[in-house]
Amino acid sequence: MALDFSPVFSGCYKLLQGASVTVEITALALVLGCLMGLAVGVGRLKPERRVVYALCSGYVAVIRGTPLLVQLFLLFFGLPQFNIMLPAFFCGVIGLGIYSGAYVSEIVRGAIQSIDRGQMEAARSLGMPYGTAMRTIILPQALVRMIPPLGNEFIALIKNSALVSLLTIHDVMHEGQKIISVSYRSLEVYLAIALVYFILTGATTLALRRIEQHLRAGGMVQ
């Protein structure tokens, strides 16, 4: 059977619309994931603050220990049993963001803990409060070390976002499947979808590499 890409070309506009939904969802989830990851990662630095530590650790354990698809379905199909009906797009962003946040928090924690203890001690011995020292001394240095693993996490997030097509969200995956349902051209359309994801992840990789180079050039790295 010969390949026939004409359904891809005629559905090109729909695929691009889907791609933009994928980008929107991923970008919003990424912001949410980073904020949650930062908060939870910092929350897990001091086990002696028991309540905060336990809450943050529990979050990471549950989210990392269960499938993303199940989490998304719980939000979208499970919560309506309590009459909590969230819009699909909202569920997608929240679900992906919460999921990503668990992984980002481990990246944040690891990067912060890799900064020499002496940096914090020097800051505190100048009279800086813990929060100020964390913001002005530790986090800027930790950020540089976070970038490579964050790159991995962002790429994973982009690819995982394909699951939100199952929440009736019209992302690129969903749009592609609609084209397949009328054209039966699975191979061609899935190849096109794969290409879209590849372009998105590639652009993310390049952007992060730029940022890292920029930070290194600024002397942020020992």
Partner: protein, 254 residues
């Protein structure tokens, strides 16, 4: 000047890490403008002693009073805010410099005054340049720490501590991480500070510095203060056998 009210006043200071008792009840006073050099074999608790003086380590028991404020009373630490405030008055210089790696030399010096004391950028930089000149590094103001030699890093670290206008300076083996040829430049800066009347507590293995600059030499071993006195007494006529053993070991090393 040794009759003045002490600026550092320590009674019954005890500190342990787990089961390991590092400091067994230290009593010690430092008068304003005094230079105290703490010597002793490694593991004797010198650094812990110093770190208890600005709350980097929390004592288990005892009283630590600095600049008229109680840092620790009966093992109870000062609250966070008051502790931060007290630390502004106690400068600390570390063995491993601990310059902020992402900040230029001048930003390393100004970050404390700006973030903690709310000094304007302009004023903080003007003051920082004066301090850099004092440590002989005004031409390095915009260099990054990674490009400096160890001796230069330590001089910047001293300037950074001085920028907070402390009343007491703590030096935790400030020259131990330096190549031998760089030790002199750091000690020189410390000598100038001492001559200007800064109150200093210095943990060091530089016996010549101790002999030349110290008002009081303190010998520690096994977490206790075994002997203290003017350097001419400690170095020529120590009363304790352990002091003699330590000095013999360290002075015949070269």
């Amino acid at each position: 000047m040794k009759t003045q009210k002490p600026i550092v006043h320590i009674r019954g200071l005890r500190k342990s890490f787990g089961d390991h008792v590092v400091l067994h009840g230290i009593d010690f006073d430092v008068a304003p403008s005094q230079v105290v050099v703490v010597i002793g074999p490694s593991g004797s608790g010198k650094s812990t002693f110093l770190r208890c003086c600005n709350g980097l380590e929390k004592p288990d028991r005892g009283d630590v009073e600095i600049c008229g404020h109680s840092l620790c009373e009966g093992g109870q630490m000062l609250g966070d805010q008051a502790l931060n405030h007290l630390r502004e008055q106690v400068g600390m210089v570390f063995q491993s410099f601990n310059l902020f790696a992402h900040l230029s030399v001048i930003d390393n010096i100004t970050v404390g005054p700006r973030k903690v004391r709310g000094v304007s950028k302009q004023q903080a930089e003007a003051e920082a340049l004066v301090l850099l000149e004092k440590v002989g590094l005004e031409q390095k103001a915009h260099a990054m720490p990674a490009s400096l030699s160890g001796g230069q890093k330590q001089r910047v670290a001293i300037a950074r501590a001085l920028a907070m206008q402390p009343q007491v300076m703590l030096f935790d083996e400030p020259t131990s991480a330096l190549d031998p040829e760089l030790v002199g430049e750091v000690l020189q800066v410390m000598k100038v500070l001492a001559s200007e009347g800064m109150t200093m507590m210095v943990v060091t293995h530089e016996m010549d510095f101790a002999r030349e600059v110290a008002d009081i030499v303190v010998v520690m071993d096994g977490g206790v203060l075994i002997e203290s006195g003017p350097p001419e007494v400690i170095f020529t006529n120590p009363t304790q056998g352990r002091t003699r053993d330590f000095l013999r070991a360290i002075l015949t090393r070269a």
